[in-house]
Structures are given as C-alpha cells and as structure tokens.
Symmetry: C2
Subunit: 352 residues, 2 copies
C-alpha cells in the first residue's frame, strides 16, 4: 500500500535457511576459516573495542542476555538465551540472533540468525586458541560431550590445527552415535569410546563440552597428562564447571576476557587473583603461548562479544552477491525526517 521503502530503510536479513545455504555454498571449513581469520584480526586490535559486560536478565529457569560491543566504526550485539530445561521440551537450550549497525548514523546494516553462527564462531574460537597453544603437530582430539557443539569443534580443529582423528565420548551413547554419523565423510577418523579415560588415550587436545548446569568433574586430575592442550567449552556460567581444580593448578590458563571468565569460566573455582593470560595478547605477540612440550595449556572458553562481532562482520562480507539474505523493512524512513506522521498517513488505503 505504501511506496517502496528506500535502501537505507531495508536491513539485510539472514534467516536460518539462508545461513544453512551459505554454509553449503562456501563449505563448512571455508566458513570456519573465514570466521577464525576475522577473530584473529579483531583480537590483534583488542584494545580498539568497547568491552561492556553482558546485560543479563535472570529468571528461575534461565537467562536472556544482550552482548554488545563496538570498534568505533561498527556496533554489534547478540541476543542469546540459556534455558537448560528447554532440551526436555524439544527446544534449543540456546537460541540467538544478532545485529550489526553503522556507528556513524546508528542504522542497522545486518540482522541474522545466530544459533548456527554462534556454533561456528565458538568452534572457530577454540580452533584459533588451539592453533596458538596446542602441541605442534597435534593429530588427535578427545571430544567429551557429543552434543550440539561436538561436530563444529571437531571440524574446526581439523581446519585450523590439522587434527586427523577425534575420539568421542558422551554419557549418552545416542549422542556419540549421532556425532559419529554426522562426521562420516568429513575426512576425520572417528573413534567411539566407552569412557572418558578411553577417549583421552593418545589425544593431544582434550575438548570438554557437556551440558550439565552444575559443578561436574568431566576430567579428573589424573586424566590430564603433561603436554596436552585442554579446550574447556562447557564451563561457561556461574555454578557450571567441568574440570577438577587440580588440573587448573597444573595448567597455564588462557582466557578471553578475565573480568567475565572469573565469573563464568572454570577459573571461578580459583582465587580471584590466580594468574591467567589473555589470549589476545598471545595472538598479538605480546605474551608467549605454550612455552614447553610438557606444559599443560588450558583455554577456559566462555564466549565473548568480540567473537560475535567478528562473526557478524565476516557474515556481512560473505553474503555480498549471494542470494543468502533478504531485505527487511525494519526502519521507518520518511522523505522528510520531521514528517513521520505524514508518512504514516500517506500509507493509508485512501491515499493509495
């Protein structure tokens, strides 16, 4: 009924279907590598970002969070929920969407699903950390917890670190079956294991990504030998950890953003002044990563807004010239900015 909105009023929207189409169009590993490159580039200029803590709205059954950040040119935020009980109701524990806007005029330039994109960026982040911290020539990863992140983690470690085999374990054998089936034909050698102890045999990288919201011990102290890299994904909110404290005390610990990780990560189990290294400083060459073949390195991953920003910026470039977005009529854009009312009135049926 109204005349077509102008270009500035239309925001490119990437639906779930578009996101899946883009992954198939680019290829999974290309997409992971693209996001990883962008994360590394953004971590190198870490100090140019606004680092606001997430804004959380808690309820007895879950949390809804807004995670904003800005580099002064672009502004991004992610909406994400966490509802552990959702899975029992056939819903996703975590769903997300995100937005990128132009700081110079405040107009959004991208709206996108971010459930899948978050899975990709979380895996890309783990891969970037492992590239800098894991023992040279690592070929085998133990993947403990075979839920929604497991395949993403496995393929990111293949794409970014060059692993050739994954050893899967989950308390629910059906999850392991699902993960093994999904990884068929990806080029990874997959070994299904009956216990965490079996899964870690010969693995240089130990990834933990389980879903229990409680202090659990997925890896006990005696399971983690000298020289490995521990990639701890699942300890990511207050009251949820996966590693025995002994492991933390024997490890060199790397984090995204200490202020957030001390509350949400594995290191919530440690004294608030326990030394940690910020991963961006390793990537920027300001601090060393792994210092010896016998060192245990630990990436205590909780997920930070800058990683989402990197993924959003990657996506904005990646969809150019593809059919994987549609224009969304999200912004009112009257010819005369002072005449919002007139725009509404002229859209009436009698004015058509």
């Amino acid at each position: 009924m109204a005349k077509d909105p102008s270009d500035k009023a239309l925001v490119p929207f990437v639906s779930v279907d578009h996101m899946m189409g883009l992954i198939h169009h680019l290829g999974f590993e290309t997409m992971i590598r693209g996001i990883a490159d962008r994360i590394e580039a953004d971590f190198r200029r870490w100090e140019s970002f606004d680092k606001t803590p997430r804004v959380a709205s808690h309820s007895p059954v879950g949390v809804i969070e807004l995670m904003p950040t800005s580099d002064g040119e672009m502004y991004g935020f992610k909406y994400v929920n966490g509802h552990p009980k959702n899975m029992k109701e056939g819903l996703q524990t975590v769903t997300a969407f995100g937005l990128l806007a132009d700081v110079s005029n405040g107009y959004p330039v991208l709206l996108t699903e971010m459930t899948i994109l978050t899975a990709l960026r979380t895996a890309a982040m783990s891969g970037v950390a492992a590239k800098h911290l894991a023992p040279k020539g690592a070929k085998t990863m133990a993947m403990i917890g075979n839920g929604a992140q497991a395949e993403f983690q496995s393929l990111a470690m293949k794409a970014l670190v060059g692993i050739e085999a994954v050893r899967l374990y989950d308390i629910d054998p059906a999850a392991t079956e699902k993960c093994a089936r999904n990884l068929e034909g990806t080029g990874l050698r997959v070994v299904k294991c009956q216990s965490p102890e079996e899964a870690i045999e010969g693995a240089e990288i130990l990834t933990t990504c389980t879903a229990d919201k409680q202090y659990a011990t997925i890896l006990s102290d005696n399971m983690v030998g000298a020289g490995v890299h521990v990639n701890a994904i699942g300890g990511d909110c207050p009251g949820k950890t996966e590693l025995a404290p002994g492991i933390l005390h024997r490890s060199t610990i790397f984090v995204e953003y200490p202020e957030q990780t001390r509350i949400e990560g594995e290191i919530q189990q440690l004294d608030p002044d326990h030394p940690v290294t910020e991963l961006w400083q390793v990537i920027a060459g300001q601090k060393s990563g792994r210092s010896s073949t016998s060192e245990i390195t630990l990436f205590d991953s909780v997920g930070f807004a800058i990683e989402d920003f990197s993924a959003l910026c990657f996506l904005r470039e990646a969809i150019r010239g593809t059919p994987f977005s549609t224009p969304l009529d999200l912004l009112a854009d009257p010819d005369d900015p002072r005449d919002l009312f007139g725009m509404v009135m002229r859209a009436g049926p009698e004015a058509a």
Copy 2:
C-alpha cells in the same frame, strides 16, 4: 531447500509497512488509547518489573542504546539510536526496533519496527501523564516544536485528555505548516503561531518537543503561569534541556524513573536531591497528582523501557488475526536439539 521450520522457530515480524497498515486498520486514536491503557496497567504494577538502566554505546556523533526490561513472564528490549546530525543527511535522528521474548524458554515471540511505535508510545505516555496531572477540562494545548512528535502528541492529548485545539509554534515555519497540514481533518482546531508567547495564550497544557542538543530555553520563567501542565518531551539526554530553571522551581515535578531522569531530563539542572514524584505512584493511587488549580505540574518525560514493553505487549495482541505481520525464520530449531549440525547438513542441496 530445507524442510519448513517449525512454529517455534518462526517469529512474527511487524515491518514498517505492517505498522502503518495496522494504524489505518485500527485507527490512530484507538491505537493510542490501547497503548495508553497498557502503559497505565503496567505502571500500576511498576514494582513487578526489572528496571535495568539502558546500555549505551556512545560515539562522537551519536549513541546506540539497548533498553531491556522484564516482568518475569515476558522480556522486551528496544534498540534505539540517537544521531542529531542525521537529519541534515536526510536520515532519521532516531530509529528503533524492538523484541518481545518468553521468559520461560527464552524464545522471541515478536520482532517489530519501533520508530513509529516509539512515536505512538511517547505520545500515549504524555497523554497518560496529562490525564492524571493537567487541569480538569483542559481544552487547549500549546505545541512548541513541530517536528516528528508533534502530531502524535496532539492526537494523544485529544484522545486521552479531550483537548480541542492546538497552538503550534516552531522556529522553522515549514515545520509548523507541515504539522498543521497533517492535522487537518482530525477534528482538532489548529492555530499557527508566530512566537512561543503567542502559542501559549490560553493553553492549559504546554508541550515542548524541540530537537536542539544543547541547554536551550524554549520556555522562559515568565511564560508559565499558575495552573498549567507542562509536558516536557525534548529534554531527554545529558546536555539537552528546554525549560528555564525557574519553571522547575515553581513546579511539582513528576518523572518516570528518577535514576534515569536525573541524568537525562530537565531535572539534570537541579540538585540531585530535589523532590520529584514517580508517576507510577500517582497512577497506582499511592501519591496525589495535581493538588490545586493554581499548581504548575510538570511531566519531565525521557522515555523508559517499561513504556516500550507496554507498547510491544499491546502490539502482540493487536496483530492477532490481522495480516500485519509475517513469520520470520529467525531461530534454528532442529528436531533433536543436540543435532544442530545434522540439521545444517540435511539442508544441503544433495539432501534435497
């Protein structure tokens, strides 16, 4: 290429075009009244809301803000920018969109344009305040500043307070012409004035809504006589006020949320402990509003997240059974929540 997403994955989206269609479908005043009713109902239960301050990202040219709130059942937030220099570039100074989500599972249930909806809720809020504070039987409003809010304010005061005439003034006569033209046929008697002094003649309600981002004096002390209601809209961020301090000292001041108004409103000119009344307490019957015919009442309006929440909840109801929304494929929703990767893989062209 993929199978259709399930209902839970689809979020109703109200575009700018839909919003304009809905306004014409319901009628302007019905819509204002509906939002006002919802604001009053929510202000009556003020204490049941989470009141987070807005999360602002400032740049030299503007601000991008997220305004979240929740009543424990629903969660809402608004994205809104403020870029005063946009108007010179033919862009909106303020654009906005908003979202409503179910607190019990974190799933969004409504995404909507909010530039127009914010104009409606701001006017509805002013109308609600005037209904409780303006002198009984007020028939005339002076509307000083004839920009994007002016028609909305005028029609809200007609719908909610029963005014019959508006007296328009703007430093730019073109804005006054635009506003007068738009109000033709609405049933309001419109008088175009050459000065603020002319505009306030005989007016029981004085509304100021100008755009200058500076300490301006739109109303000087001697212009405001006994018994009027001042509806101050334009003083809404640090460094931007419209009223001479003398007016504030002679008025009984009503605000939405003191913590925010003391930073952003007219009362940023006063001592931080200057007494103010929270409007919700008047609406809930806990505090009195106007106490005499000679009292000057002042609503120092800055806009608060709960008003956006009210508008979002109104909209969610209002679009039911209408064509004024489309389902947006925003949320990934695999059949098995743990099998996000499998969902992506099965969406591939070879699986179609």
